[in-house]
Point group: C2
Chain length 204, copies 2
DNA sequence: CGAATGAATATTTTGTTGATTATTCACCCC
DNA sequence: GGGGTGAATAATCAACAAAATATTCATTCG
């Protein structure tokens, strides 16, 4: 359904079923053979959006020559940048997401769960190869996810710039990594560096 | 102005200046000799509320026989419990706070700053007595504050119970303390225990 | 004259109505 | 008969009027 452009351009409430039907060369009534209601169209669009965003993040896992710490950090930074740019450049898409979450709370829960699973996978890997240490991977996953919540919903509380948020996130990660990373032969655990903005991770 | 009861009972929008004036045995016009507008009355109430809340938290600092870690943890837990109970039992007070923040964003910024200062004081102390270690107290303060943001605005994103939030917070603190606490003679850093709910810290 | 009033005015909220839009469904076409 | 239509109906939104309320200020009071 390429008519998601309409939502992105005119916004969810201002887009009518009649218009959508016309785009698809259908009658309004026929739309309801594919979707139970208008909101379900939005849900489907948001679902694809969310899946593709996670897929992009997963590409970080595929990169070789990266420590688990780096992977974790890059995923979290990429996430911050992605939602930040969305908020700035695609306000209508954000509005769509808000409508979906308001109407279908389950949607958000599942999105967050997907993201946590990504964290958990990286943590597992890191523990398995002796790079990270933790008593309990699931508990640490939840903690890590909760600690970085602010960077998943930036600009909701504070109106900070991306640069400020990145600097702050670097401090947060430095602190948490000191309790997570296995030190190398007495050397202190280095502070987190803000990674390069990777076009392939933030584009769209 | 004891007529704050009205806001707490009927809510900010449903309380009229005329009622407030009657409570004070005044004419409506005379209120404006004391407050610039209706919102300023709410600001004053919220300000006192916020100050007394911080004062209560500061009483934790006065307690002897407590490590810096314990103090930090107790302040954060007390904060979570305080706002959680407020949200449950005093919805009108929370509404008041939201109105104030919406109208006067500066108010929230200053409340957060006060709280951060409290964190910073504890951190300083801990570093001074060799109990905690960090490169930079200010940076760590900001990081700690950001990491615990979820527990300062509970139930806004998720609808978790207080018990869940406390368990989660304990994991978060365990993780961060491993990077913050100076280990004692090779012994591992213990996990965070959920402190007793101290009536003097959560009452009202 | 400063403190206070309360009627006058400005602003915000509430309620109502008409129009727009979502959804259903009896009916048509291939 | 399955896939589709579009008029009929229900739900929602937008615009406007009426009512309630915040704020001002000329006037009074002590």
């Amino acid at each position: 359904m390429a008519a998601r452009e309409r939502f992105a351009h005119y916004g969810y409430p201002k887009t009518t079923i009649a218009e959508l039907a016309k785009d698809c060369a259908m009658s309004p009534g026929n739309i309801y053979r594919f979707f139970k209601g208008k909101i379900d169209i939005a849900v489907e669009i948001a679902r694809r959006e969310a899946l593709s965003a996670v897929e992009v993040l997963e590409s970080v896992l595929a990169c070789p020559h990266r420590s688990s710490r780096q992977r974790l950090e890059e995923v979290i930074f990429a996430d911050l940048r992605h939602t930040y740019h969305l908020l700035e450049n695609q306000p209508k898409t954000v509005e769509l997401a808000q409508v979906v979450v308001a109407e279908r709370p389950q949607f958000q829960i599942e999105s967050l769960r997907r993201e946590r699973r990504l964290f958990q996978r990286i943590l597992h890997e890191g523990v398995a190869c002796g790079e990270l240490m933790t008593d309990s991977v699931p508990a640490t996953t939840i903690a890590l996810h909760a600690m970085t919540l602010k960077y998943r919903y930036p600009q909701i509380f504070t109106k900070q710039s991306l640069e400020e948020l990145e600097r702050e996130l670097a401090h947060v990660l430095s602190l948490v990594m000191r309790g997570l990373v296995v030190p190398k032969e007495g050397a202190p655990i280095p502070a987190t560096q803000i990674p390069e903005e990777d076009a392939s991770l933030t584009l769209r």
